[in-house]
């Protein structure tokens, strides 16, 4: 059977979809690729010219690294693959400038980017509070990286899957309703002359219903369907993350085939 993606709900920051007819290995590789292999921009180097705020340079640099940046993967190269050889050039990095004086709360929208399209994904993230007489002048340099290197480069926050089971109720069911009460996820309901499945997507495979059933009338089988929940940070649209993750998996296989052909 062919692998299939069925999208259940989709918004800017969250997507839920069913990955059908795939092996657990492919589902897990897909999840890992989305988390750790898809590149995004994040602040990685900060030059402080003036910092008379209450926070140390290191703390501010760390806070700036955590801010998600709207990424255009067509515009940037990974630094180690760039024409500049990793030194840093407009093709692989972008800087954000800031020069503010207190009293003021500095938000992510206050930074001035080199490229008006590459900005922080969310406008109203507070970075720090400046009080009377305090000043902050800095240049933050962002570059592409992957989640494998540092979690700040992850394009997704939540990225998880679970198996969608197949709940089978045999003829032995006496409709005692013990399983309905035992189920913490409200999966089962009474229907007709035996128990029916109401919401199979909600099932967490806790097997609580099997433990209570005295007739052994319930069977919960694992299938090759997976329910994915993915939440974005705003750095990349979710569909781009999914497509890019699969393209990366594909390119790994293609790259290995090329190497094997060269060896033979």
């Amino acid at each position: 059977m062919k692998p299939k993606i069925e999208i259940l709900e989709e918004s800017d920051f969250k997507i839920r979809f069913i990955l059908k007819n795939v092996s657990p290995a492919l589902a897990n590789s897909f999840r890992r690729a989305m988390k750790a292999e898809v590149p995004t921009l994040a602040v990685d180097y900060v030059d402080f010219y003036v910092n008379s705020s209450y926070l140390y340079d290191e703390i501010l640099a760390h806070r700036l690294g955590m801010l998600p940046i709207k990424t255009d993967l067509e515009k940037f190269n990974m630094q180690n693959e760039c024409v500049c050889g990793g030194e840093g050039c407009p093709n692989c990095q972008i800087s954000f400038r800031l020069n503010v004086e207190g009293p003021k709360v500095v938000y992510s929208e206050d930074f001035i980017s080199d490229d008006p399209e590459i900005v922080f994904a969310i406008d109203n993230i507070p970075v720090l509070e400046l009080f009377e007489g305090q000043q902050l002048m800095l240049e933050a340099v962002a570059r592409l990286g992957t989640g494998r290197e540092h979690a700040k480069f992850q394009p997704v926050s939540v990225c998880a899957y679970k198996i969608i089971p197949e709940i089978e109720i045999t003829e032995d069911c006496t409709l005692c309703k013990d399983c309905i009460e035992a189920c913490p996820r409200d999966v089962l309901e009474a229907g007709g002359d035996k128990i029916a499945v109401k919401d199979v997507l909600n099932c967490s495979l806790c097997m609580e219903c099997i433990k209570v059933c005295e007739q052994n009338a319930i069977k919960v089988n694992e299938t090759n369907n997976f329910l994915f929940t993915v939440e974005a940070t705003g750095a990349l649209p979710l569909r781009v993350v999914m497509r890019k993750a699969l393209e990366i998996l594909r390119s790994k296989a293609e790259e290995m085939n090329k190497i094997i052909e060269e060896i033979q």
Binding site: I5, R148, L246, E247, A253, M256, I260, I263
Partner: protein
């Protein structure tokens, strides 16, 4: 990715794949084991920070590199069918 052959014979191969991890190797191992010509397909990451996994494949007499190539083609095919649907 950097591939080094540590040992090779008529029906087995031992490789080192520098720079890869569970993401790719677990997938490759799964598709290798699906193949009927494969007896053993196993990978091991000796140290989690170094990133030099070893891959060992033993077949029933077929060229092991050919079997790996076939598994990779299956991965490409599965990815292609999924990419089309996004």
């Amino acid at each position: 990715m950097e591939v080094k052959i540590v040992e090779i014979g008529d029906d087995f191969v031992k490789l080192v794949l520098r720079g890869e991890g569970h993401t790719y190797l677990n997938l490759l191992q799964h598709y290798l084991l699906e193949d009927e010509d494969v007896i053993v397909a196993r990978y091991n990451i000796p140290h989690p920070l170094v990133g030099e996994p070893h891959l060992y494949v033993r077949t029933k007499g077929k060229n092991p590199l050919e079997v790996i190539r076939r598994a990779n083609e299956k991965i490409v095919e599965a990815c292609n069918t999924l990419i089309e649907q996004i």
